[in-house]
Symmetry: C2
Subunit: 461 residues, 2 copies
């Protein structure tokens, strides 16, 4: 069985044994079966609990050995001490994919480390592979499957994550990231590379996210990630950068954090886009799903406020972007609508052309956006505007979003107190994405450029 076939058992199981399933239900019942029934999972479910004959209306087996049918995936939910015995029973039953949920293995004391080694040995001997331990397991919103014992929102978004924490399993604020998820936890067996090979040709996943605490086989990761990154953007957080965090890593997933600069170099080599914070998962997923790549570093800034234009210019510098110098043709077009004393260039303060020269604001916005998108020196656009009540959205932006072709990425930062209506309206047009801070908007442009540069770099390097 190759890696992808194996990973399908974890990600697209048709039959799942829930070994050590609790009889508790409801809030804080942590009952996986209850959640799966709510999600509407259509595969077969086999509760296993030696002390129950039925749970939530389903026949309960006292051991996996009693289950009469084929089982794609076993999820072991018991305390640590009996896990090796249960893994053994699973392999004897012919199960090839096993998720071990519990904590207290390599993430804890010597006894836990020994138990983890023991269960891996048993699985190997029996021809099975393990996700975990210390994990929520796997999730696939497209088939309403999620082995987490915490109930979650799932949305069919084309984003897949491989992580070592449940933190990213529930979707972050604003943007649901969980289309498919693999929490490899302590990663005693299944590792990042296995997950990447599964996502590599998966048509349901267009953007891949990684949350890494440590890694066993760096060589294989370089090979696999370098191959996959040519097909889909891979965005990664590597945590445990500081010494203290590296210690905490050891007690969280039993991983060795490794030298940070080694990861930096490795990611650069294989085209993985390294990010620092959780909200960058949100921001970049949204960007890579909806915006074109940025084919150069030149930014055009369109602003309603001179101060905002200056702050954005500073922010371009912070994000490794350049303030684009307009072509002479663009300059002429913009000068035509500006007051004679204004040097109307980039950043383009659209206020004087409207307030002083008397051109309607929608016309000024349209002219500026169109000129900027047509200018070869500009590879991406950021707009800075105050929030407007929703009813102004079509007045201000219809001429822009209806008539202009956006072949370069465009982002907007809206300031002031009335932001949400206009922001949602713009996002629904699919042409200009809203970000709640200027730095997040420019970080997005920067990363769209970074990935473009990776795809187009000289392969001999």
């Amino acid at each position: 069985m190759n890696t992808v076939e194996l990973m399908r058992l974890f990600m697209e199981p048709r039959s799942v044994a829930l070994v050590g399933l609790t009889r508790s239900t409801g809030i804080m019942g942590w009952n996986v079966l209850e959640h799966l029934l709510k999600y509407g999972f259509k595969g077969k479910l086999y509760p296993v609990n030696p002390a129950a004959d039925e749970i939530l209306g389903l026949k309960c087996y006292h051991s996996v050995k009693e289950i009469p049918d084929d089982i794609d995936l076993a999820v072991i939910l018991t305390p640590r001490s009996i896990v090796p015995r249960l893994v053994k029973e699973c392999t004897e039953r012919g199960i090839k994919a096993i998720t071990v949920v519990g904590q207290g293995f390599a993430d804890s004391d010597a006894e836990g480390k020994a138990l983890q080694a023991e269960m891996v040995r048993i699985a190997r001997e029996g021809g099975a592979r393990i996700v975990g331990p210390n994990t929520f397991g796997t999730a696939n919103a497209f088939i309403n499957f999620n082995s987490a014992y915490v109930q979650m929102d799932m949305k069919k978004v084309p984003t897949g994550i491989i992580c070592q924490t449940g933190l990213f399993f529930g979707g972050l604020p604003k943007f649901p990231i969980l289309g498919k998820g693999i929490d490899i936890g302590n990663a005693c067996d299944i590792d990042f590379s296995d997950g990447l090979e599964y996502f590599e040709d998966d048509p349901e996943v267009k953007v891949i996210l990684l949350y890494i605490e440590g890694m066993r086989d760096g060589r294989r990761f370089l090979d696999v990630a370098g191959r996959v990154a040519k097909k889909k953007p891979i965005i990664a957080i590597k945590s445990g950068q500081s010494e203290e965090a590296a210690q905490a890593t050891q007690s969280h997933s039993g991983s060795l954090a490794g030298r940070d600069e080694v990861y930096d170099a490795a990611f650069r080599q294989c085209g993985v886009i390294r990010v620092t914070t959780a909200e960058e998962f949100d921001d970049l997923s949204k960007a890579f799903l909806h915006l074109p790549l940025m084919k150069g570093r030149g930014v055009g800034i369109i602003t309603n406020t001179g101060g905002g234009g200056i702050m954005a210019t500073d922010a371009c510098r912070r994000h490794n972007l350049d303030l684009a110098k307009l072509s002479p043709e663009s300059s002429r077009e913009l000068d035509a609508i500006a007051p004679p004393w204004q040097d109307f260039q980039n950043p383009a303060d659209i206020w004087p052309p409207s307030m002083i020269s008397g051109h309607p604001l929608p016309e000024v916005i349209r002219t500026t956006v169109e000129t900027f998108l047509a200018d070869d020196n500009i590879h991406g656009v950021i707009m800075i505007m105050p929030g407007f009540p929703l009813q102004y959205a079509p007045i201000l932006f219809d001429p822009v979003v209806l008539d202009i072709k956006f072949e370069k990425p465009a982002v907007i930062w809206l300031y002031g107190t009335d932001v949400e209506g206009l922001a949602s309206w713009l996002e629904r047009t699919g042409k200009i994405l809203y970000y709640p801070t200027m730095d997040r908007a420019l970080n997005v442009l920067s990363r769209l450029n970074q990935y473009y540069e990776y795809l187009n770099r000289d392969d001999d390097r």
Copy 2:
């Protein structure tokens, strides 16, 4: 007339002449008078427009010279060419405070620069002072006054800003910052130091914000800011850091941006808290208004997710904070509720004590928060939790917020999709402030420490 008395004419005018007031009203009418009537400004208003006898029901004068009463403040709203003549009329009328709104002065061409110099000369000769040009002027929510020609939301929050852009006059998202505002625009006369002296002993202002593009008299600023910063936190953005931004600064407010490292050193010397982004104005205003200062760099991390704890440890490093080492007493108290194999310390992963040891989650949260706040090595706390539906807020947090005294700052980052309800509930308790990202939460702790260190540093330094 001393500076504070003069600034009162701009900030607390009892009578205002609106010179060159438009007869247009409604949306895009840019009619200051219309806005002031809506806000409910109680002072006297004198429209001045040679082509009108009445605007919005008020008698309109053809010149300031015709106004029979004393005038505290004149707001000149005309195109640039006639401004020097109107300033002259104002001084002849005995007006001491003049706001010049229009653009096209030092922010533009040679003619504009000459016009600006001319009007300053006339004002000086006539004993008047000028705010602007290129400005929204002044705003004071406590008396419903705002000279901006754009209609704004105003809230009586105890925050004052001195800026060179209208960007910050309308309040940023989530947190309204405009209690009082002074947009000094091109700062041809009234400068940051004048505004600081006004805010210095103003009981309505507890936090001062500055947005600086350039500055004329650095020596006076050092003196005044150093004095004021001992009384109230001063938070500043200095823009125009990059060369390109410095050029844009010249055409926005006619300011020379100056060398960035000089500002850095000056701010450090006089205790001004330098920040980079607009949202830090929101974040830090909220923090300085509601949280105690942080009397050391030791952070306690309480988390529902091991991954979150590791990421927060990395983030502490980024924000010049330390992961606190627990006292032996604290360690004993926490060990008592953890599973035997867990090294339950800092960052404190509260999941195993609840999930494995079976202690109710509210009890675990309470014990951890109480232990952390009592530990002398911990000077501030960050919590990391998933969002919960609002009805769980009192179940989870009542034992914490009702019984525990918070003499150290506590912030929370909530992840997942159901965040808003719990966030608002926590903020209403006034004990734990919510921030939408982990880095923003830790930046707040860092700045609360930075200001504490300034207030307590050796004055001989």
